[in-house]
Structures are given as C-alpha cells and as structure tokens.
C-alpha cells in the first residue's frame, strides 16, 4: 500500500499555546484513518491545516507525492482534498441540489451540465435524492451532515476529511453514516475521520490514531488502539471500557 498523504513533524502554535507539537502520520491509498483525542487536542486544527485554512508553524504535508504546504484552500480542494465542517455550514439559501453542484463545478472543475449529473449521483450515495429541491437551511441535523459529505464528494476528492459527522446522531443514524463512509471508501477514496463515538472507530475505520498533548500518541489497528492503556488514560477515562 502506498501513502496518498504524508504528514511530517507538523506543528502549530497560537501565541504561547502550542496546540500541535509534532504530528507524523501517513494515510494510505483506500484507507479510513480514524482520529480520536480529548477535547481541544487539536484535531479540528489539524484538519484546518491540511485544507489550508490555517498555516502551520512547522512541518511538511505531501499529497500524492507532492509537497502542498504552500498551496491555498481552493487549490488543495481542486487537487483532491475534500472536507466537512464540525458544525455543518450548508449554503442555506440554496437548494440541496445546488449545494452539491457547487462542489462539482468549482471543486472538480466540471461544466454545469456535468455537475448536475454528478449531483444526482452523489445525492443517491448520501440518500438525499428525495430532498434535492429543498433549501438546505431547512434540513435537519442528519441531513445537514449528509449534505456536508455530499458536497465534499462532489469535488471528486482523493481524500476526504470528516470532522465529527456522527456527532449528535443516534445509534442507528451512526450506523448509516458508517455504511456511507464504507461506500465512499469502496469508490477509491481515502478518509480521515475524526469522531468521539467509539463504535465508529471500531466498525468504520482501518486504523486509528490517538492525538493528545500535541503529538500522535499511538496509531494502529482500531481494536488495539482502543484497548491501549494510552487511550484508556487520556481519552476513555479510568480503566473502565465500553
């Protein structure tokens, strides 16, 4: 397996707050990498760095063998990095259909006609095909999260960065999201998935990484990581397991 994304010694500080000290990891082709960590560990910050919204203070990011640290947000998106936001940010006054189209037209550089077809395909994947003409502002939480994913998919990403897409969903809905991610993976997309729900880590990911104290503490097979003492100590609390 070859790495699509290689992160080396990534660090960022806000003033004297060294949020990320040194992050190192690889994301392999066609892999779902789960990321867990205590609140405020810097998971969202890391995602913001990968998409170019924040500038790191140090470190390198190479995507498909190319160093991309200097690239801007839109450039990276077009290059194949898609993402969702922890708090969904749909284009509220546009329809679901148009929301997805935006991804196709600008992220994947399609013509409008192509983007329309793409939007229909994506809508099937994210199960929003019956709500295409609704204004996105009217969607409920689950649908907003789905739309977040759908828009990112429409940009035809090589890697997809998910930030707590399962947060606030019920058990069964989490199951739906896990299936959705599996389907996305099956289309050849690699995924980084931040989530606080243990089940998603165990069922939905290929490897899990624990982020704490600004470093990647441990990375490995989901079950191993979740049962590791490090995770128990900083993340699960006590020794009692789920």
């Amino acid at each position: 397996m070859s790495a699509v994304l290689t992160v080396k010694d990534l660090g960022i500080s806000f003033g004297s707050n060294h949020v990320l000290k040194s992050i190192n990891f690889e994301l392999n082709e066609n892999e779902v990498l789960g990321v867990i960590g205590p609140n405020g560990a810097g998971k969202t910050v890391m995602l913001n760095i990968l998409t170019g919204i924040l500038k790191p203070t140090k470190g390198t990011i190479s995507f498909q063998g190319k160093e991309i640290s200097h690239e801007g947000v839109t450039e990276r998106c077009r290059g194949g990095i898609g993402r969702t936001f922890q708090v969904p940010r749909p284009f509220e006054q546009m329809t679901v259909f148009e929301n997805i189209m935006v991804g196709g037209v600008f992220g994947a550089g399609m013509s409008e006609a192509e983007a329309k077809q793409k939007a229909l395909e994506v809508a099937d994947v994210i199960k929003l095909d019956d709500k295409l003409d609704l204004f996105a502002g009217k969607l409920g939480l689950l649908d907003r999260k789905r739309l977040e994913i759908g828009r990112a998919l429409a940009t035809e990403p090589k890697i997809l960065l998910l930030d707590e897409v399962g947060g606030g969903l019920t058990e069964s809905e989490v199951g739906l999201i896990i299936n959705l991610v599996k389907e996305i993976k099956s289309q050849g997309v690699s995924v980084i998935w931040i989530e606080h729900i243990i089940r998603t880590m165990l069922e939905g990911t290929d490897r899990v990484m624990l982020l704490a104290d600004g470093v990647d503490v441990i990375t490995g097979a989901p079950l191993d990581v979740m049962n590791s003492s490090e995770v128990k100590k900083v993340y699960m609390g006590g020794g009692d397991d789920e």
């Binding site: 867990i36 205590p38 609140n39 405020g40 810097g42 409920g140 969903l169 019920t170 809905e173």
Partner: protein, 238 residues
C-alpha cells in the same frame, strides 16, 4: 408535587406541527431524560419549556406558576435554566465572563463561589479563564455551556445534547458530577443521544417520536431494546 409540568402542548413552526399533545412531569431532585431520533422534537420541547417557542395549545406549569407564553428571561428569573443545543457561547467575552453571565441574577460574592464550583467540575475552563471563548474547541464550548447553566443555580437545569462532541472521558466525568449535583437537590431535564447512557444517568425517561411521547417510565424499568424500537419506529432506513 411536580416541579415542572407540561400539559398537552402543541407547537407549530409555521404550518408544521412539531409537537402534538406532549405532556411530561419532572419531580424535584430527579434527572429526567428525553430520548428520540433526530428531528423527533426533543429540542423543540426544551425550547418551548424555556420560552423560546410558544405553544399553540396547552400549558406549562413550573414551580406552581403558569409559565407558558412568558419570555425566556422571565422564565430564567423564575429559576429555570437551559444549556442550549450547539453551546451558544458569548464569543467576544472571556471564558470567565461567560460563566459570570450565568450568575447574572446572583449577588456578587455568591458568583465567585459558584465559579469555583464550575472550575472544579471543568478544570480546563479555569486554565482558559481569561481567553476569549471563540478560540475554544468544540468540546470545550460544550463544557462552557453546561458550566454556565450550572452557574445560574436554577431550580431546574435543562441540557440539550449534553454530551455532543465530548470525549468519553469527559462524558463519564460529567455524568458522575451531575449525579453529585443532583444529590444536592438540583433537578434536571436532559437530552442524550446514547440510550444506554441516558437510561443509566436518569431516574425517569420519555421517548419522543415524531413530535409525540410514545413511551415513558422509570429508567431502571425501561428495556433498552424496547426503547430503541420505540424511537426508531418508522425512522429506520437500512
């Protein structure tokens, strides 16, 4: 006598009927939880109780007083406080000022006492006391919102999506602490997505499905699978 009594309320969003004939009771000193799928109407119930929505039918009695139709700040003054869904921090203010806002209705020295209490519950907030709340992470905001709710020292505290975005360690912590606080007499109405945890933490539970209460009972007596069936009902996709 119940501390909070919701009697047969209907709530509309425009033409959409979000709640139908919802009734519930909260006894003093207990923790009551609402369980339901996304869009079932849990937040709507919470918001209606604290005055953000107006019921089109029915009434809400709090502490012997009819509060339906009152403004949120009047209801807050009566001793009912809520940590809303999506945390809603005062972005431009420091973490400490955010918490102090919770004690808006309290006297000076008392405020500081409560503040210490909250800091004990969420040490990270003390660390960040002088920082602006905009820079908090998702989970830290959630803690701030709960802390702020506790600062009001209400007769009853409503928490919507109490564990959203929190690391398991923090969630366990919160539930432990909530039990402690409840033991001192605080009454709570919470919304929690995780059924297991919800039933563990509460004394009594209501299951909401499409704007109606479809099941209720003592948490210890409710069967988890039945609850699951009740609120998935029609709502399963797979």
């Amino acid at each position: 006598m119940s501390l909070l009594e919701v009697k047969d309320i209907d709530v509309h969003y425009g033409d959409f009927l979000a709640l139908r004939d919802v009734s519930l009771n909260v006894e003093p000193g207990t923790i009551v939880s609402l369980i339901g799928a996304n869009g079932a109407g849990k937040s709507t119930i919470m918001n209606t109780i604290c005055g953000l929505n107006k019921p089109s039918k029915g009434e809400i009695i709090f502490d012997g007083q009819n509060i339906s139709g009152k403004k949120p700040h009047q209801i807050a003054k009566a001793g009912l406080s809520m940590a809303p869904e999506g945390s809603h921090c005062f972005e431009s203010m420091t973490v400490q000022d955010n918490l102090l806002m919770g004690a808006y209705m309290a006297k000076g020295p008392e405020r500081m006492e409560r503040l210490e209490g909250v800091y004990k519950l969420f040490p990270i907030l003390k660390e960040k006391a002088k920082q602006q709340s905009t820079y908090l992470s998702g989970g830290q905001r959630q803690m701030l919102a709960i802390g702020r709710g506790i600062m009001t020292q209400p007769k009853i505290l409503l928490c919507d999506e109490i564990s959203l975005g929190l690391a398991p360690v923090v969630i366990n912590d919160i539930y432990d602490k909530l039990k402690e606080i409840a033991a001192t007499g605080l009454t709570m109405l919470i919304v929690e997505q995780n059924v297991t945890r919800s039933l563990q933490a509460s004394d009594y539970a209501y299951v909401v499905l499409e704007g109606k209460i479809v099941m209720e009972g003592k948490s210890s007596e409710l069967n988890e699978d039945e609850v699951n069936d009740a609120y998935f009902g029609i709502n399963s996709f797979a």
